[in-house]
Amino acid sequence: MVKPLDIIRKKRAEAINRIVGKGYLSTKRVYVGMATCEIAAGSKKVMEVFKEAVNKGLTDVYLSQKGCAGRCNLEPTVEVIEEGKIPVKYGKINEERAREIIEKHLKGGKTIEEWIIK
């Protein structure tokens, strides 16, 4: 019998492959918080903005959702992980701010200091 541990190792390799296949290795990864609390604070619309940008040709960005990290008073949160840089987490993001993140950070490579959660 194949050991369960061997099975899961294989499955993990496959899972990672699939994630990579989705563009995980892009230089920028964007995560939008999508828990009840985040959605209550308006994260669905924020997600839409990012989705639209990706659909309209924003490249080298891996977009995904995630659960609540616990920063309730700063929601919705958007996290940008960029290769070679310390990850940043933006708080209190709305549609307008999301667009600005796309323009300034994702396209322009400049973090927007005042929204970063310290």
Partner: protein, 170 residues
């Protein structure tokens, strides 16, 4: 037309129950799930529906009534078009949910568990909607409004009134 619609719903409920019965040797334990489904279909649990469930599931009506009245989630009266749930969880409470509730009561002219005469709003309390960071919060249908003041919530409610009037006229 109304009746055929109701019959459709009854048929759907029956199917739901028979699907359950097919999967388990303890179908009666799914009573709460069935009541959820029924409320979903009919908007509230009326006596005819509960009777129907009693007969299909072979559960005493008194038992179903006991269960339906025990759980706050189940509504025994027709509900307004919009359901307003004021969160009275602790976080909201210390941030003034009490005042929000008073303001809404005043605005709608109804108490908790009641429905406005025009059938537009039903008022409920909720115990923590899990959005404590936005306290105080109110949920209208499935949308959550946070960081409210008495003024804000009154405005939100008039917004609903307006859009309803519009949709009526439209």
């Amino acid at each position: 037309m109304q009746t055929s619609l109701e019959n459709d719903k009854i048929a759907e409920l029956k199917k739901y129950i028979s699907d359950i019965s097919g999967k388990t040797d303890k179908p009666e334990s799914y009573l709460i799930a069935v009541l959820h489904r029924a409320q979903n279909l009919f908007g509230y649990l009326n006596r005819e529906v509960m009777d129907e469930i009693a007969v299909i599931m072979n559960i005493p009506a008194s038992h179903i009534w006991g269960v339906a009245t025990f759980y706050h989630y189940f509504k025994l009266k027709p509900q307004g078009r919009h359901s307003i749930s004021i969160c009275l969880g602790t976080a909201c409470y210390v941030k003034g949910a009490g005042n929000i509730l008073e303001a809404v009561k005043k605005e709608l002219g109804i108490g908790l568990g009641e429905t406005t005469e025009d059938g537009l709003f039903s008022l409920h309390e909720a115990r923590c909607l899990g959005a404590c960071g936005l306290a105080p919060v109110v949920m209208i249908d499935d949308k959550i409004y946070g960081e409210l003041t008495t003024q804000k919530i009154t405005e939100i409610i008039s917004g609903y009134r307006k859009s309803n009037r519009k949709s009526k006229e439209g």
